[in-house]
C-alpha cells in the first residue's frame, strides 16, 4: 500500500502500510535481556496510562560519534512498535548515523520511511524520535558533551 492510500483512509485505524506491518510482525533490534546490556545512553518517553511507552538504548563509537547499536522496547500499538523498529534501523544502517544527525531526526522522517501512518496514529511515531533524543541527551550527559 502506498502513502496516498493511508492518507485517504485516515479514519480507518487498521490501514497500515506494508512497511509498518513488516516491522510490527518482525521488529528489528528489540532488546531481549535488559540486565546484561551496557548502553552508552538510555532514553524513555511516554506513560502506560497514555498507551505508549518507548525505551531506547544506544551504543556510540567514541571516535566517530556514530550510533553503532540502537536497541529498544515498546509498549503500544502497531504504529508505536513499527516506528521504534524502523527508527532503530535508520540510525544504525550504513555504518551508523552521526549523533548530531540522529538528534535532528523528527517524526516526519520516521513517517516517510514507514510509508505513512493513519492520521490518528501519527503521535505514536512522534514518541520514537523523542525517545532517541532522550537517549542521546543521556549519552551526552554521561560524557559531559
Amino acid at each position: 500500500m502506498n502513502k496516498e492510500d493511508v492518507k485517504t483512509k485516515n479514519n480507518e485505524a487498521w490501514v497500515y502500510s506494508d512497511v509498518v506491518k513488516e516491522h510490527f510482525f518482525n521488529p528489528r533490534n528489540v532488546l531481549k535481556t535488559e540486565e546484561e546490556y551496557e548502553a552508552d545512553g538510555v532514553g524513555v518517553v511516554g506513560s502506560p496510562s497514555c498507551g505508549d511507552v518507548m525505551k531506547v538504548w544506544i551504543k556510540v563509537d567514541p571516535h566517530t560519534k556514530k550510533i553503532i547499536e540502537c536497541k529498544w522496547k515498546t509498549f503500544g500499538c502497531a504504529s508505536a512498535v513499527a516506528s521504534t523498529s524502523i527508527l532503530s534501523v535508520m540510525v544504525t544502517e550504513n555504518g551508523g548515523m552521526l549523533l548530531d544527525d540522529a538528534y535532528k531526526l523528527r517524526s516526519k522522517d520516521i513517517l516517510d520511511r514507514l510509508g505513512g501512518l493513519p492520521e490518528n496514529k501519527i503521535h505514536c511515531s512522534v514518541l520514537g524520535d523523542r525517545a532517541l533524543r532522550a537517549a542521546i541527551d543521556d549519552y551526552r550527559n554521561r560524557h559531559a558533551i
Binding site: 479514519n11 510490527f24 498507551g51 511507552v53 522496547k73 509498549f75 502497531a78 512498535v81 490518528n120
Partner: protein, 397 residues
C-alpha cells in the same frame, strides 16, 4: 488458514434459514406496504407477520413494536423520542456510565438541549445498584435507560428490579437488549419495561434493521418525518427483507436459546479459567457469572490491545479490544474505566465473544496461541508492572 471469528458481539453472520426467508422480498415480493394493490398488500402482510412473531416473543401487542433502521436508531428514538414527548412533565433522565454510545450520545445531545442527565456508576463487576436508581429519581425524572447486557463486558443488569422501581415512581423505563436478545427471555410484561431495543445484526439476522418495543400509551416523538409508516412514529418505506429477516432470526435464537446458552457457558468458562491460569498478570473484566454466556473480556498488564489483536488476526483469530489505540477518538473504553480500571488495564484489554459456530477446537486453539502472543509482546515491552500495585484488581476467581 481457517478464520476463527470470536467477535460475535460486534456482529454475526446471517443464518442461512434467515437469508432464505429474506430473499423473495428483494425480487418477486418487492412491493411497498403502503400501496393498496396486491403487490403492496403482499409486503404489508409480511410486515404484519414479522411484527406478530416479535410481539409473541416479547409477550406484547403487535402494535407495540416499531421497526427502525438499527439498534442505534431504536435507542435514539427511545431516549430522544420519550424526552421530547414528555418534556412538559420533566427534563431529567437517568442512565448508566456503561451504556452503548447509542444511548450515551443520545443523552449528551439532550444534555446540550436543556435536559439533565444522571449517569449512574457501576460496581467493580459492572453491575448497577437498583438503590442508586431509586435515589436518583426526582420529580423531574421522565425516563430511566439501563442496558440489559453490556456489549463490552457482558454483565447482566437487574432490569426487573430497576423496572419495578421505575413503575412505582411513575417513571418510564427503557432497556437496550441488543446483546441480550439471543440469550434471555424478552418478556416485556415480566420485565416490566416500557421500551426495549433489539436489532438484527447481533442475532444472526441482517444489519440495518432494529425494533423498539413501546408500551401502549407511552408517548414518543418521531425522529423521522414523512409518511405514516410504523404508526406515524417512524417515517420511511419499510425495509421488508430486513424486518422479515430480523423476525425469523429472533424466532430461531429464541428457540435454540437454552441449549445454546449451556454450550456457550461451558466454552466461555473453560476459556476464562485456562487463560487466567496460563497468562500471568491477567484479569477477567466484568462479573464472573452474571454475564452473557458468550462474553469474555480480559486485561493483560504491560501489553497493548491493538498489538494483541493484530497478532491474533495474523493467526486467524478475530477479536476486539477496549484499547484507545483502536478507537478513532483515541480514548480507552468508557465501560472498563467505569469499573475502576486504570487506563493501562483498559489499553491491555481483549474481548472474545463466542457464537453458534464456535467449537471446542476453536477454544483450544485460542488457549494455545493467546498466551504465546502475550508473552511475545511482553518480551518487547519496557514495562514490568507488578500485580501488587493494582490492589484488589487481580484476585483470582
Amino acid at each position: 488458514m481457517k478464520t476463527i471469528y470470536l467477535d460475535y458481539a460486534a456482529t454475526t453472520s446471517v443464518d442461512e434459514l434467515v437469508l432464505e426467508k429474506m430473499l423473495p422480498f428483494f425480487t418477486e415480493k418487492y412491493g411497498n406496504p403502503s400501496s393498496l394493490h396486491s403487490v403492496g398488500r403482499e409486503a404489508k402482510l409480511a410486515i404484519s407477520q414479522a411484527r406478530e412473531t416479535i410481539a409473541k416473543h416479547f409477550n406484547c401487542l403487535p402494535r407495540e413494536i416499531i421497526f427502525t433502521g438499527s439498534g442505534t436508531e431504536s435507542d435514539n428514538l427511545a431516549i430522544i423520542g420519550v424526552a421530547m414527548a414528555n418534556r412538559h412533565k420533566g427534563k431529567h433522565i437517568i442512565t448508566t456510565k456503561i451504556e452503548h454510545h447509542a444511548v450515551l450520545y443520545a443523552c449528551s445531545y439532550l444534555e446540550q438541549n436543556g435536559f439533565e442527565i444522571t449517569y449512574l456508576p457501576v460496581n467493580k463487576d459492572g453491575i448497577v445498584d437498583p438503590k442508586d436508581v431509586r435515589a436518583a429519581i426526582s420529580e423531574q425524572t421522565v425516563l430511566v435507560s439501563v442496558i440489559f447486557a453490556n456489549n463490552e463486558i457482558g454483565t447482566i443488569q437487574p432490569i426487573k428490579e430497576i423496572a419495578a422501581i421505575c413503575n412505582s415512581s411513575k417513571v418510564l423505563m427503557h432497556t437496550d437488549a441488543c446483546q441480550a436478545a439471543g440469550a434471555f427471555i424478552l418478556d416485556v410484561r415480566d420485565l416490566g419495561v416500557d421500551l426495549l431495543t433489539i436489532n438484527g445484526s447481533k442475532i444472526y439476522g441482517p444489519k440495518g434493521v432494529g425494533a423498539l418495543f413501546v408500551r401502549e400509551g407511552v408517548k414518543v416523538s418521531p425522529m423521522l418525518y414523512g409518511g405514516t409508516q410504523e404508526f406515524s412514529r417512524r417515517a420511511g418505506t419499510e425495509n421488508i427483507p430486513g424486518i422479515v429477516g430480523m423476525a425469523e432470526a429472533l424466532h430461531l435464537v429464541q428457540s435454540e436459546r437454552e441449549d445454546e446458552n449451556a454450550r456457550l457457558i461451558k466454552m466461555r468458562d473453560r476459556l476464562i479459567k485456562e487463560l487466567l491460569t496460563l497468562i500471568p498478570k491477567s484479569r477477567l473484566n466484568g462479573h464472573p457469572t452474571q454475564r452473557l454466556p458468550n462474553n469474555i473480556n480480559m486485561s493483560f498488564l504491560d501489553v497493548e490491545g491493538e498489538s494483541i489483536i493484530l497478532h491474533l488476526d495474523a493467526k486467524g483469530v478475530c477479536v476486539s479490544t477496549g484499547s484507545a489505540c483502536t478507537s478513532t477518538d483515541l480514548e480507552a473504553s468508557h465501560v472498563l474505566l467505569a469499573l475502576g480500571l486504570p487506563d493501562e488495564l483498559a489499553h491491555g484489554s481483549v474481548r472474545l465473544t463466542l457464537g453458534k459456530y464456535t467449537t471446542e477446537s476453536d477454544i483450544e486453539y485460542v488457549i494455545k496461541i493467546l498466551p504465546e502472543v502475550i508473552s511475545r509482546l511482553r518480551e518487547m515491552s519496557p514495562l514490568c508492572s507488578k500485580v501488587e500495585d493494582y490492589a484488589g484488581l487481580f484476585e483470582r476467581l
